[in-house]
Subunit: 212 residues, 2 copies
DNA sequence: GAGGATCCATGCGTGGATCCTG
DNA sequence: CAGGATCCACGCATGGATCCTC
């Protein structure tokens, strides 16, 4: 947390320099760059997929791009959608809940008028999933996963879900995975991810900072 | 087959040059180099894991290192061992049989006194699994797979099997996979592969070339 | 605005095999 | 000698997310 608080107000150029990195021209070809820089800054083993330090602590790290008004500009990826359902339909055991139980949110300036290297990190927020938000997430997740298990995946659009939505998550739309079809048969479909809508992350930020 | 026959007598230097490649100093750090060069020479998409041309034809390609006497110097890797057994114990459906049903063998000189770049490819042999050899392979496979399924994997050493043996197959001995333990529980163990002993490949070469 | 599409880094597994001690 | 250990290449999946048209 000491390291996380120290990030507040630092520019991307500053953080990149600390870690001997050169910022990319823009984020079009390095979409995850900032998130990975924060990982390094906080002592997570850079690029270590299996065991970032935060998972040992039970803490998920998320950077969140905010506009000049402090509101989130993008949805937040949570995890992949299990397309073969089998893992049970119990919210308490779901990856979504496990990922969101405790999150260290790091806001970062993302207003287009600020040059990339001059954008600053904000105040870190160590947050735990609150009961009212969890109730809605749970309903979303149960409804979505029921459709997945019943083979209605193709009928799910990003419009389903209040806080949680399902959207494609892949290198491109040619990527395919096996899933359950309408009549229980195996079908090929694009891989999907769970995402948090900005209305969700906006609430979180609003509760803990003074924001519109 | 025209391309395969044309390889006979070519040196590794020659084949590498054709494909714009530079031979490694030795094979210690490039153990698969020659096999992959042959793949390219025969028009298999270089490095394409899923669908080499030969698999479309139902043909497996194997290079086989031979000493100055023409006898194989190394065992031949076939495929990984399914450690969770579940795929059934029917030889006819096994990956080992599918891989070995039709093989294009390409002998290559491997006598230590010949410098790597001057070693030559031999005459290609398009071979089909013969009934007498298959019978022994089948027995080996059934005995080994039964042990795997019964959780006796740790008791299998490379000494089991007449023609087919099970040996570790991994980047190193720290690599682990889930398998079935003695009492049916899940255990972690090193990944294994099926290998053909040299007595097997020696017989094949002997039947089709005049060899000791 | 946001749904659908896409992009980079990197770990892991498989396929190509040979190495190297006891 | 040969059983057990190891090495490189590369495809694929996942985790980091933002892009970019309707």
């Amino acid at each position: 947390m000491a390291r996380a608080r120290e990030l507040a107000g630092r520019t991307l150029a500053e953080l990149a320099h600390r870690h001997g990195q050169t910022p990319p021209e823009d984020l079009r070809r390095a979409k995850g760059w900032f998130g990975q820089l924060i990982e390094e800054s906080l002592g997570a083993t850079a690029g270590s997929l299996a065991e970032p330090d935060f998972q040992r602590l039970g803490i998920e790290l998320k950077t969140i791009p905010v506009g000049s008004d402090g509101r989130p500009k993008e949805s937040t990826y949570v995890c992949t959608v299990p397309l073969t359902g089998g893992d049970g339909l119990v919210w308490e055991d779901s990856w979504v809940r496990r990922k969101l139980q405790r999150v260290l949110w790091i806001p970062v300036e993302a207003a287009p008028e600020i040059p990339l290297t001059e954008r600053r990190a904000g105040s870190a927020l160590l947050w735990e999933l609150e009961p009212d938000l969890e109730a809605t997430l749970r309903t979303d997740w149960e409804e979505l996963m029921e459709m997945v298990c019943l083979g209605q995946l193709e009928r799910i659009s990003a419009r389903h879900g209040t806080y949680l939505q399902i959207r494609p998550k892949a290198a491109n739309s040619r990527a395919l995975r096996w899933a359950v079809g309408e009549t229980g048969e195996r079908i090929l479909t694009n891989p999907r991810g769970f995402y948090l809508r900005t209305v969700f992350t906006r609430q979180i930020l609003r509760r803990h900072y003074a924001l519109p």
